[in-house]
Subunit: 252 residues, 8 copies
Amino acid sequence: MRELLKAVADGSLSPAEAEAELRGYVTGDAGRFDAARDQRRGIPEAIFAEGKSDAQVAALAETALETTGRALLTRVSESHVEVLETHLADAFPDAAIDRRSTTVRVTAADYEHPSLDATVAIATGGTVDGPVADEAELVCVDAGTTVDRIDDIGVAALDRTLDQAARLREADVVIVAAGREGALPTVVAGLVDTPVIGVPVASGYGHGGDGEAALAGLLQSCTVLSVVNIDAGFVAGAQAVLIARAIDAARD
Amino acid sequence: MRELLKAVADGSLSPAEAEAELRGYVTGDAGRFDAARDQRRGIPEAIFAEGKSDAQVAALAETALETTGRALLTRVSESHVEVLETHLADAFPDAAIDRRSTTVRVTAADYEHPSLDATVAIATGGTVDGPVADEAELVCVDAGTTVDRIDDIGVAALDRTLDQAARLREADVVIVAAGREGALPTVVAGLVDTPVIGVPVASGYGHGGDGEAALAGLLQSCTVLSVVNIDAGFVAGAQAVLIARAIDAARD
Amino acid sequence: MRELLKAVADGSLSPAEAEAELRGYVTGDAGRFDAARDQRRGIPEAIFAEGKSDAQVAALAETALETTGRALLTRVSESHVEVLETHLADAFPDAAIDRRSTTVRVTAADYEHPSLDATVAIATGGTVDGPVADEAELVCVDAGTTVDRIDDIGVAALDRTLDQAARLREADVVIVAAGREGALPTVVAGLVDTPVIGVPVASGYGHGGDGEAALAGLLQSCTVLSVVNIDAGFVAGAQAVLIARAIDAARD
Amino acid sequence: MRELLKAVADGSLSPAEAEAELRGYVTGDAGRFDAARDQRRGIPEAIFAEGKSDAQVAALAETALETTGRALLTRVSESHVEVLETHLADAFPDAAIDRRSTTVRVTAADYEHPSLDATVAIATGGTVDGPVADEAELVCVDAGTTVDRIDDIGVAALDRTLDQAARLREADVVIVAAGREGALPTVVAGLVDTPVIGVPVASGYGHGGDGEAALAGLLQSCTVLSVVNIDAGFVAGAQAVLIARAIDAARD
Amino acid sequence: MRELLKAVADGSLSPAEAEAELRGYVTGDAGRFDAARDQRRGIPEAIFAEGKSDAQVAALAETALETTGRALLTRVSESHVEVLETHLADAFPDAAIDRRSTTVRVTAADYEHPSLDATVAIATGGTVDGPVADEAELVCVDAGTTVDRIDDIGVAALDRTLDQAARLREADVVIVAAGREGALPTVVAGLVDTPVIGVPVASGYGHGGDGEAALAGLLQSCTVLSVVNIDAGFVAGAQAVLIARAIDAARD
Amino acid sequence: MRELLKAVADGSLSPAEAEAELRGYVTGDAGRFDAARDQRRGIPEAIFAEGKSDAQVAALAETALETTGRALLTRVSESHVEVLETHLADAFPDAAIDRRSTTVRVTAADYEHPSLDATVAIATGGTVDGPVADEAELVCVDAGTTVDRIDDIGVAALDRTLDQAARLREADVVIVAAGREGALPTVVAGLVDTPVIGVPVASGYGHGGDGEAALAGLLQSCTVLSVVNIDAGFVAGAQAVLIARAIDAARD
Amino acid sequence: MRELLKAVADGSLSPAEAEAELRGYVTGDAGRFDAARDQRRGIPEAIFAEGKSDAQVAALAETALETTGRALLTRVSESHVEVLETHLADAFPDAAIDRRSTTVRVTAADYEHPSLDATVAIATGGTVDGPVADEAELVCVDAGTTVDRIDDIGVAALDRTLDQAARLREADVVIVAAGREGALPTVVAGLVDTPVIGVPVASGYGHGGDGEAALAGLLQSCTVLSVVNIDAGFVAGAQAVLIARAIDAARD
Amino acid sequence: MRELLKAVADGSLSPAEAEAELRGYVTGDAGRFDAARDQRRGIPEAIFAEGKSDAQVAALAETALETTGRALLTRVSESHVEVLETHLADAFPDAAIDRRSTTVRVTAADYEHPSLDATVAIATGGTVDGPVADEAELVCVDAGTTVDRIDDIGVAALDRTLDQAARLREADVVIVAAGREGALPTVVAGLVDTPVIGVPVASGYGHGGDGEAALAGLLQSCTVLSVVNIDAGFVAGAQAVLIARAIDAARD
């Protein structure tokens, strides 16, 4: 520990890095960041931006970069992104920002990107499912899996679904995001013999809207599926990563 | 009216027939039977057997036979059927009984079966959907439509669904009964360009069980479907009959 | 296919039209438009405007016009309409815009309006049901059915309901939009012997508000009704069109 | 109080009567009976038989007879009634038993029946609503109102509803019991200008079954209605009695 | 009818009045106003302002004044009221405006106020229940009943509830508006022997919030209560008026 | 540990006692009994009898007696009790059985009853709340608190509630069990200045039945209450014991 | 009373103080403040700011300060606080303002702070639970208990939970605020032998969001917990105070 | 195909085997068995016994044995098992029956058991979760994974949970079955870095009972979990098998 404190003293380690090393998490004005989760659970803590101020989000992202080399942010608004970009221009001028819909990943210039020898297919029923699939996708990208994104294959035009069967079968894990009645994950899971994770999407209005019909449908599915909560793209992506990593490890 | 009463007096008309003629419905110990509904609405009143005693059901069936030439009974138990058979052996010894799962249709010997120049396809996802489809089927049979019954084409084995696309397309109206996640009606409605009526079936357990997931899914369907309540095979069949009759009339 | 590509090359076919011809759908920045749905399902894909930007809606409408000769838009805002009008003034200066409440139909100058020999009656309980009925109406108009619109006949003033019984009986199909307790579709279905489609409307406050009481009431109706989701005027109209087209075909 | 105890001592007052006089309620092995509720609230305590043993019900009925001259029992089973009859044959050999469906009223031979100068109309939609209406009816009979019972006027056959408009308008208060979609109370309340109390009935299956659709519909009704809980015939009857008594008092 | 048209021709009758006379309702740009409801049902149609534009509300109020001498408006916003006042300053310069929270009653200068010989007590649990009680109160005032308003007697300070028992007992009808757990109507109904109408109020947060706990509690009440929907002050007031009018008629 | 094993070897300690000593819990055919919970949490593990066979319940009770000197059983049936009595007659012939409704406590002859210097008042609204209150009571008795049981003080007869205010105020902790609308705990909590724990009881039918109205009402209560789940008499009693023990400890 | 009026007359008592003394509560334009609740129930009335205007909140706070020496305000907005500060600068220039998240406590300069010899531990799962815990904390501070606040010990990083076991065990009462799945209160209650009060927090999205999953989880907890409604920090704090005061009294 | 028919002709292939070969599924009186699902999806069709007659279950099991070498049956009753055993004694005298709670696996004598080089840990919170875990376990056993069953580690005794952390970490996939508040899967998923599948179990009573609290809690979990429906042990086991097979394939 004396080593660590020396490093802080001579500036080769930031206080945040030191706290992360010692306690596993870092506490700042914007809240706490669990820097050790990545090692403990194999999945980094994502910064849930919704309900946080622009400044809080930027500060948490900086802490994440400082201690784990990159930051994953979900449910960001335009305003969050603008302030984040300005902030990082100062704090991490060489950081790369990858934004997809409402999910953002920032990587420090010297961050070593991991790579997993496994493919996650991510399918959507329609345009409205895109942001949730994007959230899942960035988690997979962050972990280094190959991602095969297959959009707009909802069952209203079944030919398009079937046209993609071969691609879907080639993946090691399949994530399917679908709203409304949520029939797509069931149809996909009937076509492949790999694990399928269904993500209900909060689309639709009236009875069963906001994703509740899709969630109930996935839970009742007559095929084998596991499910995450409505719009929980992060959880679906993270579960796919855990499976992909196990496969990658076995492939070595 | 004097004619009518004379007919009662000389026995050529039963009191029930006369009451039906005059008031449209017949009242007995077992309750009221709406003998005029068939003419008013184009659909006979079905006798809902659940919760009624065996004797009540038999009495109502007799009234229906007497006044409209046939009786439709839904949600009958074994015991209902046994007592009904005994009762009819006396009252209408030549009546024909057509029973499918929990639905029964009795026709008097001299009943003139109607015939409609239209076909209703009735599809099911699996065995558990059978009794609900049977209920719809007997209503269609009663009205004289051609019925094309297509069983066990649930999307868990999508090839079987697709194999039946041609048959489904040939019908004038399609009824699809499906429980669990209720994906079948959505898939079928994406394959045909005729009216599709979805019937959610009360199967499944856990969240969304008892048909609620299927109902919500049908209401949220990304295709064009109209829906009836959970297990409401009678209503689905009757709505199909109303459409079929309009087509039949137009064909003349 | 060479023909097609030549046509693109010489400008007699737009790239969108060519893509629609080849793949059935067109992909642009604003998302995907399913140009083939009309032929496959007999009902065009409507552009669901809610949650899309003004520019996206205008771009999708242009694609629809280009490939199918007209565009149907549902749940449009004032701002959507303004941008759409500006956009079309450039892109399709001769297009005709038909707007009813939150539904809009745009037809190219050379679009050949279809005509169906069948009448759809569309009834509402009160003013609040108007926009949902308008959505259904434009779908019927688009398909070429005769529409008989009968407004403000809610059962709180039962005489007005009964006064319209004759008109309701003359239609081939009846759509009834009603909110609050949703008694009107049940009463109407008791008056006619044609197919009735009930649309619950998201009015009312407190328990059973937002259309849930009306939906539950329609599903429980003691008469023969089929139902669509709350506020789903498009689906009700499309289902009526499918029935009307079957009748029209039979009339030929 | 000494008078009272003397009366107990010489047998002219039973201990139960004395306890009722002193404390307002009587406690026995079968539970407590609130003998004073009738005076305090204008409505006697009904003995809710469901879930109680035959012996408990009989004992409570005896206490009620002893202290208030009559007993009202709701939700009784066949077995409750049999044991009650046997028990009363001993305890109150001259008592009169009035049973309607699952509601029973027993009056001691010397009970002075009250009389109110007011009429309560009680209407039902169909046979299934009968027992709930019977429960309301016996409460009204017990209080001495005139009851006009009008059965089987559900809106599926609207003519029958309208045929009874004049009778409904003649009553001072109207109770309407209806299950399924519960449209009848709304239609009736649109026909009369007197207070209407709606009672949802636990009929129907599927979504909105067990009376929930009817309850939501009554609460959302576009006319003026007050409502009681599903199957709460006793409460509807009692509320009608309170209104009838106010009218009766004003008529004097 | 010729008389009527002459009166329109010579200006002694406005077109709206004539339409109201002939058809019972008046149709304008702002929608339809049911001018005959007052006579048919004994309760005028209230103008539900929520969701209507300021201009629509003002126009409907003018129609109501023109045809029935006064207008009742519920759920008005500040902006509704301002435009209404401006509008009436022109159209009905002598009209009197009575506003209580979100309910407004406008009476023409020559409107003859009715009077009923009956008292309605209106009690609230706390400040938050005020606007709902105000809505009920204006309906009672409009009908000419005496209103005894008793505020802030929620059971958290039971002494205050009990202190008002005598006043509550003196009324002919009692309305109790209460949110949160809704215990007050049950306690009040245990104190009086007159009809009590409970109005659940949409207060509270978390589970059972928005008035659902109060509604369920009123429906389950262990005393005799009838209930209206959450926040339905108008319906509670109107039901009380119907009872009060019956009492008033009997008193004559 | 050698001591312990010696004790087992010489029979002065049963294997179950030894396992409990070493691991904290005992495993048998009937399942696992957590013998250490009493020390860890201050509350013994209760044996939840519902769904267990008679033999399993008897075996678990024996294990509890053997390792902790007494057994608490909740939700026992008649048949559970009979088999338990027979079983204990053999295994623990001197054990004392205290049964109240569906809760049973068995104490070994040599069990040293604890005593706490604190009083828990347990109040009920009516007879139906009795078994839930009994469950709470036996937990308090087991822990050695003084229990003051106050039955039948539901607010339908408010005088009875108020008559008990003084007794309620004397207790250190108050438990109130109430079903239907659950108004009693709110009224009681307004009368005392000590901690009140509300237990909703699964009574009532229709909307909000099975205790849901009472639960929502307690959570929404306008006074200070903490709540346990519907029918969770054990948890209410155990929470009261933890408070009582803290007070007892402070009193020493 | 004459004394009191004299004091008002000579200005040594404000009219509000006099009304509070005489009636227990004070009525102003901003509503009623229950000045006596503190004495009656041991807990002051908190001013629920949500939905009240800035001016109303400031006026109620002034009344509270005037009559009870301090004011507790919950669910305040930024704007509430600003106006309050301005207002108090005039009315109570020496008052101290303690603000934590959305809860504010104002104490008059001469207010004598109470002190209780008891400790309440308040734990949270994560940052989002902070404001609810703050609400509970200020109630405890107001009553004079020692508060031990333990933040960010959610079970996603179980080591942090376990690290705090000793601190949690030292408190007399424990409050645990947790959202999402609400596992923390159950885990904490398994670690301590003192009363634990769980507060579900309205975090999370999708199914079971807004605190409903946490509430259901706390009610189903396999350990001994009592529960308050979602986000009801005030009630949790107040219940802890009532327990702490009982312990404090016993310690004397 | 001629080969196949010859084989049927000479008896070396049963008609069922031939139908399975040709169509993928076999149809009998007891319903349809999807013999090809195993190859298509990697998971055999389980025979869902609930609601089927004893004879139907036995017949389906025989078909499964005949065509796929083994049968998996879920939700069997005592009576199902007895008839099955009798039936198999005749039809497959050498078959081995493996029964765990309500799940049964029958293997033909010559069935070649597969083997997967992967371990699935299956953990339960308590005894009540056993049958659901058994269902998952038999699916894993059937597929040839190693199963590590870890029972009774519910968080009420957190030490026992933590004691098993090392074993849980060693598995390739973890299934956790838990009812009541469902905290265990969240705690376990915080301890391991492998995929965790949560199965809510239908235990508990009152609000959130029947597994709904556990389901909502798992969906809201603050860690990474995927979820299956309440009591869906089969789906959890099958999903684990799909993951295990992918790992096994990668290990080769």
